[in-house]
Symmetry: C2
Subunit: 333 residues, 2 copies
């Protein structure tokens, strides 16, 4: 029992309310990441799964199921499913981005090799699939299969849009809905479905997850530029180096004069980056108020997420989900 609830974050409160379920999810994750034949699999998986992730996505499934009066055992399977899909995409993302650090630790592709990350990711994806089949719900399988396709499509779109200055805000939103929001919305939706919630509630849970995911990713994209304060830190600049057209950059390019446009053409379009370019990029983002504009958009998405909760049952979990929507944007402060 967490006695210091007043000082805690919405995520802590949600986690405290879901403690028993989360323990069951963690036990299932540990049991299912085992491999009789290939010890490399649990090694790579444990490195990532036990690195202190927040378990945000499985918590969304557990919270949605609880909110809707779930009685069966399958919310645990689905929460583990969602975490496995998330972990599989992280492994593959780190290969695609050639990342060397995640959550402050060396990535699996650095500790082992790209091969292990690709294949263990495939294994976790297959394992997630086995877990959801155990629920016996075709509807749940349909939702998660569609989410998996949308995630991969978003990742490919991001890859092909990198370095393309003509990328629109519409394309950015498609990428974000794919790479991030699709799993958030599937996580909340399957929680409602497995609990047998009525259609309008399931729809509201989907919309909540979708809006929360978009807000979450916009904030991540801001944090990559040091948040709205635009300060270079150890976790900043990855997107710039990878020439990703995130929303702050898209807005700055739209407002650029000829000289600024030449800067973006060189650094993002051609990828010819020099010392000091990240600081210059941040200065341009600040000059055009791009960071603050994106923060405002994230706040609107968070408010949209919160509004969906009017349509779900009153329950002690509901205000925690509402606060969570504000909290994902408050990470900026």
């Amino acid at each position: 029992m967490n006695l210091d609830v007043a000082a805690s974050t919405p995520l802590d409160r949600l986690s405290a309310a879901l403690t028993a379920d989360l323990d069951a999810v963690n036990a299932m994750i540990r049991a299912r990441m085992a491999s009789e034949h290939a010890p490399r699999i649990p090694q790579v998986t444990a490195h990532l799964i036990e690195a202190g992730g927040k378990r945000l996505r499985p918590m969304l499934t557990l919270a949605a199921a609880r909110l809707c009066g779930n009685r069966g055992p399958y919310h645990v399977h689905l929460a583990a499913t969602v975490e496995f899909i998330h972990t599989a995409t992280l492994l593959h993302d780190d290969v695609v981005d050639e990342s060397h650090q995640r959550r402050g630790r060396p990535t699996a592709n650095l500790l082992w090799d790209n091969q292990s990350s690709v294949l263990v990711g495939d294994y976790l994806f297959a394992r997630s699939f086995q877990l959801m089949v155990e629920t016996g719900s075709i509807r749940v399988l349909d939702i998660l299969a569609n989410a998996a396709a949308t995630i991969a499509e978003g990742e490919v779109l991001q890859l092909t849009a990198a370095g393309n200055l003509a990328t629109t805000e519409e394309t950015y939103l498609k990428i974000v809905r794919g790479k991030t929001a699709a799993l958030f919305s599937a996580a909340t939706e399957v929680g409602g479905v497995i609990a047998g919630a009525p259609e309008p509630v399931v729809r509201a849970l989907y919309d909540y997850g979708d809006a929360l995911g978009v807000a979450f990713q916009m904030v991540d994209d801001l944090l990559d530029f040091g948040g709205t304060a635009a300060v270079i830190g150890k976790n900043t600049g990855d997107d710039f180096r990878e020439r990703k057209l995130t929303l702050p950059i898209i807005k700055a390019i739209a407002a650029a004069d000829a000289e600024e446009r030449a800067f973006w053409e060189r650094t993002i379009g051609k990828g010819r980056q020099e010392e000091g370019d990240l600081a210059q990029a941040m200065a341009l983002l600040t000059r055009h108020g791009a960071l603050e504009q994106v923060r405002q958009e994230a706040l609107r998405w968070a408010a949209h997420a919160r509004a969906q909760l009017d349509l779900v049952p009153a329950h002690e979990i509901r205000p925690m989900l509402a606060d969570l929507a504000d909290y994902v944007v408050a990470r900026l402060n």
Copy 2:
């Protein structure tokens, strides 16, 4: 209608008997590899899917379903599912093996990049999953989810066994059952299940696919050394370079004297390979009769596959499947 059936291979005859179904599968593959948002996806997929693959795995599903008197439409979905899973694993394999050629053409990772191969593979895997969900059969989903996990596990096991001279024939068989036979046996099994075949028939179809897959992979491993004639050609030596402990090598190591063992330690164990080593490896394989021993094992697996067919219904397709078992080994001649 193929008028020259007498001169054709068992694969040609099977293909002729299944023409209409195969056309439907190809149409479904083309429709489902599309992506509204990311044109890179159909580009990469088409490169591989239209490269003249034999469609062996989807044909196994179609043949098994036909044999069992299938009446519904879902054999087409399942055949397309199996081909998508196969294509996804090829994309990921080529990244893992750093391959530059497949089916005589440059690989996708060479034409585009590793990133595209990883992410498009993920997309096809998700698409395969959507296709099988459409069948509405939890049993089919269970079989294919298990197959997907077994495939990935076999691939990881192969990766971690590379360069390990202590690899046993038992481990080799686990790898082969994973990377190859699991999809063959799932392909035939789901064909029977979707047709509503009785359990003993489903089991026989599974066993047929499993044994066919093992024979097929043993022959592939022999062909990598030029077949039993052990001749260096443009498609030989990949496994040796990648330090894979395939069955011919395992048998040659078991029979090696001290000097030969030092050769395997250097070339496979340490990966220090020089000009002429592949020819020397082939000479050792021939000296110990390793290639012929493996051919005999492949023949036994093929005979085992053929024997399973006694348990399935008499049908014009049945002798074609029986001949197919012999044919996968006859590729050596």
